[in-house]
């Protein structure tokens, strides 16, 4: 167990690193602080790399002025829908294929082919099919989330201990009860293990989809800024996305802790 003082010093250095990075960024891109080292024009560094103060100002404007909320909401909605639909599909297909050897043998090459395909390339097709609104981004996110959940469920069902299944059968479990009380809980533990991945990819699907063509969302904001060479707004968009991704990840951790109480965690020594 790490003592609280060394934890505090770790936090301090983490913060110092962040401040140091910002300071370096500020000094290196400021047109007046340093003589131009690499670029002939002192404003070029700021043009290429943005300026941290302006990035912060832009972010502040978005939140204070309220323009960002509608875009954030759209991105969040796309992420959530992609996550929920992708997980539901992955769970259903994973359970089905893991429990039916015929279906799994039949579909195996197709699953493999679809999984190895670079699925981001489907985004334009989805835009044609579902339009430029939320649906096409959700579709892209679903294709990303589905495979993660699918493979984890498949693995989870296959890895259920033979003894646990036999024991449940002998205790009188019907096929449906086996599914509900043995296979699904076992598969769910694998799904939760991949929760960070799948939420992250749902987010990637939403943002990439927006970036490739949309009229709303944080990805759209970045695209617009890029179109007008407003590098500070691009960085502001990236900052917002990163903060948002961290928030999502933290929420997943909270959910995970609540739902997986039955799993032993490292460092937990309670045993009597």
């Amino acid at each position: 167990m790490r003592s609280s003082s060394s934890k505090l010093s770790l936090r301090f250095w983490q913060l110092a690193l962040f401040v140091g990075f910002l300071a370096f960024w500020y000094v290196a891109t400021s047109p007046t602080l340093l003589p131009p080292i690499y670029f002939d024009d002192p404003h070029k560094a700021a043009f290429f790399f943005g300026e941290p103060v302006k990035v912060f100002e832009r972010t502040w404007e978005w939140f204070a002025g309220g323009t960002i909320y509608a875009h954030l909401w759209v991105t969040l909605l796309e992420t959530l829908l992609a996550f929920v639909i992708g997980t539901a599909f992955g769970l259903a297909m994973g359970l089905w294929l893991a429990l039916s050897s015929t279906a799994s043998a039949l579909l195996d090459p197709y699953i493999k082919a679809l999984n190895s395909m670079p699925r981001v390339i489907l985004a334009p097709i989805f835009a044609v099919w579902f339009g430029l609104d939320v649906a096409s981004k959700v579709a892209l996110g679903v294709t990303l989330v589905f495979f993660i959940v699918f493979f984890n469920v498949y693995q989870g069902v296959r890895e259920v201990s033979f003894t646990v299944v036999a024991n449940a059968r002998i205790l009188g479990a019907s096929e449906r009860q086996l599914l509900r009380h043995v296979y699904v809980p076992s598969a769910m533990s694998w799904v939760f293990a991949s929760l960070h991945n799948s939420v992250g990819l749902a987010f990637v699907g939403a943002v990439v989809g927006e970036y490739l063509g949309s009229s709303r969302g944080v990805g759209y904001l970045i695209l617009q800024a890029e179109g007008t060479f407003d590098i500070n707004a691009v960085f502001a968009g990236i900052v917002v996305l990163t903060a948002f991704a961290l928030l999502l990840d933290w929420m997943v951790t909270v959910v995970e802790r609540r739902l997986l109480v039955w799993q032993p965690r490292g460092g937990e020594t309670e045993k009597m």
Partner: protein
């Protein structure tokens, strides 16, 4: 006793496993085992002699290649509904609490959750785990998990209890505690027990009858011994009585050659 309908009867059972590449392995050949209602029978034999195979046949997890299995006179089709099974390895559902695991069998049979849980709590108390109902299996020690398994099986009040080396992974003190507890529970509500073990002392101290199997492959019974030790027994104390030592010598004499044979096979 032979006139009564046996709780479990394996008649001339042969089990041959066929591997995908066409290899054949006969684990058990022409084995007959009859267990009367309320009788405690142990099956001993060297490692790899097909003891677990016999138990899997008795519960219906395995179909015998030859021979007949009946339970209370009825031929076995599918799982043996009269039997409970205590596995050698971990069989608890890790995502259920101790209470949830013990109540599982009742829930599967359609008992309402509230009643199932309160009966599970009674059983947890009976196996000495009062207050541990909310723990998950990983929060319990090996001995405690075995107790949960025992309660999980006994709560359904099966007529036949099949036990596959249930205590072999436990340390010796825990093991003797568990053996005494098992005898106590069995004494209170006499069911048929088939207890598989490789430990001859354990077999003698628990049973009414000990069946000795030969070394595998094609293992078969080579001796059957009635254990006429008085009950109730304390497994730690009974080991010191002259009659126990006498029986031990007798059965060990019959087993020794088979153990050596099995040991030689493992070295090959």
């Amino acid at each position: 006793m032979s006139a009564a309908v046996p709780a479990l009867a394996l008649e001339q059972v042969t089990v041959t496993f066929v591997s995908p590449d066409g290899g054949r392995y006969t684990a058990v050949r022409d084995t007959t085992l009859r267990v009367q209602p309320g009788e405690f029978v142990s099956v001993v034999g060297p490692t790899g002699c097909g003891k677990s195979t016999l138990l899997n046949v008795a519960v219906g997890l395995l179909q015998p290649s030859g021979g007949r299995v009946t339970s209370f006179g009825a031929p076995l089709a599918g799982l043996n509904r009269n039997a409970g099974y205590l596995f050698q390895t971990e069989a608890l559902m890790p995502w259920r609490t101790a209470r949830g695991n013990v109540a599982a069998g009742l829930e599967f049979r359609g008992v309402a959750a509230v009643e199932a849980n309160s009966r599970a709590d009674e059983w947890l108390q009976r196996v000495g785990l009062r207050g541990f109902g909310d723990r998950y299996p990983h929060q319990l020690s090996g001995g405690m998990r075995k107790r949960v398994s025992l309660a999980q099986t006994l709560i359904l009040d099966p007529q036949i209890i099949l036990m596959d080396e249930p205590f072999s992974a436990l340390d010796i003190q825990t093991r003797q505690l568990m053996e005494n507890q098992l005898l106590e529970l069995w004494q209170a509500n006499r069911k048929s027990v088939v207890f598989i073990t490789h430990d001859l002392e354990e077999a003698i101290s628990l049973s009414d009858r000990v069946l000795v199997l030969s070394a595998g492959p094609e293992s078969h019974p080579i001796g059957e011994f009635a254990i006429d030790l008085p009950r109730p027994r304390d497994v730690a104390e009974i080991r010191l009585t002259p009659r126990f030592i006498e029986l031990h010598g007798l059965i060990w004499h019959a087993m020794r050659d088979e153990v050596l044979k099995s040991y030689a096979q493992q070295l090959q």
